[in-house]
Amino acid sequence: MTRFLPAEDYLPSGRYELLPFRFERLDDERVLLSNMAGEALTVSSADLTTLVNGDLDRSGALFSRLRANHFLRQPEDRAALELLALKLRTRYARLRDFTSLHLFVVTLRCDHACRYCQVSRQSADRASFDMSRETADRAIDLLFRSPNQALKVEFQGGEPLLNFDLIRYVVLSITERNRQHKRDIQFVITTTLSLISDDTLAFCREHRIFLSASLDGPEDLHNANRPRPGADSHARFVAGLEKARDVLGPEAVSALMTTTAASLQRGPGIVDEYLRLGFHGIFLRHLSPYGFALKTQSYQGYDTARWLEFYEETLTYIIDLNRSGVRFTEQHAAIILRKMFSCHDPGYVDLMNPSGAGIAAIVFNYDGGVFASDESRMLMEMGDDTFRLGSVHEHGYDEIFSAPALLSALEDSFTLSAPMCADCACEPWCGADPVYHHARHGDPLGRKAESGFCQRMKGMTRIFVKAMEDPFVAALFRRWALSC
């Protein structure tokens, strides 16, 4: 039988060969390079030209760096392609697993009236805004159709604790049915903690349910962002946190913050509040262009450039804390850095390509509507049902997951073929966000040159690369990347 020589044997001797990579200018002098597996390097503008023209000095440090990171290879580097392929395969391995995160919107009712809220109803009308057992049963049927061995069930609202009976019902039903299915199932309740009770906590402990809570910062800021009768949201959060940690353990409660215009001057103070309350990290989150955030102009309260200023200032504060010996992580950075420094995808739905909508996460709304993402159902609250994939009462698994709304959004937003994304160095750690771009630009792909999503990713990347010129920060960021 005729055998072909390996491709490596056809390399011209004495020359190096470029491996595929993309670049993005950081400023007039520096250029960021990333290869197919997402490994990144910064070089000077002149070095980039020399590299591409084939004139790089093969005895220099830059040559070694580029070779070690698979930006070029020499004839004897036989394993380079296999290694790159292995990394790329690892990067896309999650596609095989399919949907993990299943969100159950158990009620739209809420005891809060947050200014930027996307969905909540101040109503005592349980019949209109609570999920019924019948709807939950249909959703559980669909949950077990997912091929993923690891399933995450997240209860959302409104304030989900206002329909705790249903949460109890869903957890018990899933646990019972899972005796047969034998999946790894993790339960999470997203809550403000304002209504947490001893009974609730006892049930959470018994079923190892995690709590994902909301903390926007110091008391005055938190209460201003999150009005409720009695103006005591922060005090309730602190009391609830203490109780929950006592019963569930210190690591069972995490917190999320949302940046409003009022937060922009308060970055270090917000971090201090997280530290004071015993958290080891924070996720600096921007507002999404959905729901009441748009209606109440909260979203227009700041633009991406202003959010990036806030982000850089707060990140610098966190870095300085670490420098002084306080261990504290910025989790948004950790997710992106993990993608930059390794081929493992941390599975953050907003930064996935193909988009995580539907294929990494799915939302069962209180009325049985099925949505491709949490943002999709928020869009629905604004009267746009583009990403409603069906109803648990009317459609089966195959119909929902092959809904044209889902398939075309995934295909149209795919970054490897999208203008600008296809040749962008940030692409390996960025994502396709069809719902955002639909909401802002009217189509799933959007116009990346004008996209706040794109500006944010490029801006954050610039901030990271600049910060990593300091060896302390480079080491810190590597630690964050490994820990998330």
């Binding site: 491709a7 060969e17 470029l18 491996l19 595929p20 990579f21 993309r22 670049f23 200018r25 197919m36 503008s45 980039l48 030209t49 591409v52 023209n53 392609l81 296999e82 790159l84 392929a85 292995l86 790329l88 395969r89 896309y92 391995a93 596609l95 095989r96 203008p419 600008m420 040749d423 116009r447 040159a449 004008e450």
Partner: protein
């Protein structure tokens, strides 16, 4: 048109540019040196600031740059023009990288997906 030209940074961004009719700036590029595709890609990247009209005239590519936002002054239009020229050069460089790495890129993708189990 050859992709194999050696790439040099544009240093004299003002060359070949003059005020066009209306409030646009015109830029003339030699079609022997610049690729039309690179011009389009650059125009897309700058579409938040500039609307760029592109036409082929003989052996030149004629680009007319219009500011997208009202009230853009001539100084910022000159900066945008320099950015456009820089971006065209970057796009040429990207095309060159894509061209020379195409075979190895296909090989890597073949290795990757031959063992992924994704293409059953």
């Amino acid at each position: 048109m050859s992709h194999m030209v050696r790439i040099h940074r544009i240093t004299a961004a003002g060359k070949g540019a003059e005020m066009a009719e209306g409030n646009g700036l015109s830029v003339t590029l030699d079609a022997q040196v610049y690729d039309l595709w690179a011009v389009h890609q650059a125009a897309y990247r700058l579409s938040d600031r500039l609307a760029i009209q592109v036409a082929i005239e003989g052996s030149t590519i004629q680009c007319t740059l219009y500011p997208v936002t009202e009230g853009t002054n001539s100084d910022s239009l000159l900066v945008a023009r320099a950015d456009f020229l820089r971006e065209v050069t970057d796009q040429m460089l990207r095309a060159r990288i894509r061209e020379v790495t195409e075979p190895v890129r296909n090989l890597i993708l073949a290795y990757t997906f031959s063992r992924s189990g994704l293409q059953k």
